[in-house]
């Protein structure tokens, strides 16, 4: 199996190293990842600037290709300019920080996998639900299992898997749940501050609303100690609303 790996924390992050190491047991791994952190870039691509690619070493060995682009750029570059064979699987991660609920929309990690799926390749995004003291071992182990499952079975066209793993040792994890994206919103606000020269600036900050009544959601799976696997798609059409919108009788 040919596997393309990317992330949004950058090629020198700990999570991508744990992922690459685990997935080597499933096939040939090619890493193409951003040269620095690109978190919360959403599904950005680079169209107004050229892209650079350099070889990156870790622990004295060739590790992968570092690009000046976003995760989506990296997946395009990997498939269309770097890899000799088309990959059988694209895996993005392991991200430091969960990508559940509406974070899915902002996530560079998910967008790397989305780009793989757009290009017709089975794709998985993997995130660890913590910002402190990460232990990537359970997530890496599960990513390997899921990669082998994706090889055996098939994903529907236009669908990728968004995996979130609690930051717990394997013995403390409760199991795996197939979930939907939580509709709970991030509750964000701005802190207005003054710089040393008297100028105003804003910091975006916030927290999750504490409750989600939807027991089948990714957020609640994580809170209960389960690995969450959400099938997500990139056809954003709300088909149910089309007939009602047609009844609006829109005219020029």
């Amino acid at each position: 199996m040919e596997i393309l790996i990317t992330n949004d924390d950058g090629i020198y992050a700990e999570g991508i190293s744990a992922l690459a190491c685990a997935l080597k047991k499933a096939g040939n791994v090619t890493v193409v990842a951003p040269d620095t952190q690109r978190s919360a870039v959403g599904h950005a691509i680079t169209i107004s600037d050229p892209l650079r690619v350099v070889k990156a070493r870790r622990n004295g060995e060739f590790f992968g290709y570092a690009s000046s682009g976003t995760p989506a750029d990296c997946v395009k570059l990997g498939i269309k300019a770097i890899m000799k064979k088309r990959p059988d699987l694209v895996v993005s991660g392991i991200n430091l920080g969960g990508n559940q609920a509406y974070n899915v929309l902002y996530s560079g990690t998910v967008s790397g996998a989305t780009e793989g799926a757009l290009l017709g390749i089975p794709s998985i995004a993997v995130s660890l639900d913590t910002f402190v003291n990460p232990d990537y071992s359970s997530a890496a182990k599960f990513a390997l299992k899921l990669a082998l499952q994706c090889k055996k079975r098939s994903l529907p066209a236009g669908t990728l898997l968004n995996v979130n793993v609690p930051n717990l040792p394997a013995s403390k994890l409760k199991g795996v749940r197939v979930t939907n994206q939580s509709r709970t919103c991030f509750n964000d606000w701005f802190e207005k501050r003054k710089d040393p020269h008297g100028g105003d600036y804003y910091w975006m900050t916030g927290d999750y609303k504490p409750k989600d009544a939807d027991q089948a959601s990714d957020l609640n799976a994580l809170r209960a100690g389960y690995v969450s696997v959400t099938p997500i798609q990139f056809d954003l059409t709300n088909y149910k609303f089309i007939s009602e919108l047609e009844n609006w009788g829109l005219k020029l």
Copy 2:
């Protein structure tokens, strides 16, 4: 009606001026937009840097607030830090260039409207399907009509309208179609070049695949000379695939 306007071409673009001018007939307009072009940023937000906001003038008059952030940042800033009243409507555009098919995923214009919908406000993205010789008049006129319709009727929670307008004078437009997002892919590739110092770099480029068999798609509506209105949503869950994925029997 209180209306918040943003875009991704930047606050000094022609399209946002045409939009603001038209929507003044429907209510109080507040413009919060990026200080420069932010195309193809996807649904990015700025979490690692502070955001700056300055007042911007056009034609010798106050026009709106220019921010160092992305379109999604601008909508958050407008609602949570700048506007005194919560807006009744968020409109993003008018973008120079269509945002149909998979462009929806990369689009900063759409992400501005998505952020509005995430925050519970009826939201519309408007794009003009050309990169040359834009005539914003038909799109601006239709945006006004649609804004008034959205006030009268309601959009389902979590759904926004993605509008694309052919670059034709009103007399040449065929009408309005409610559409779905085309599944046709952008066919992209990389041009590898050498810089004057011998270093390699890549330009991403490409074109649409010429055919889309789906007559109900946004792409085909535009090609036939119709304004396309697609209801899109930000719950990305593929609900249909959930039961099949549960049958995979995923384990740790």
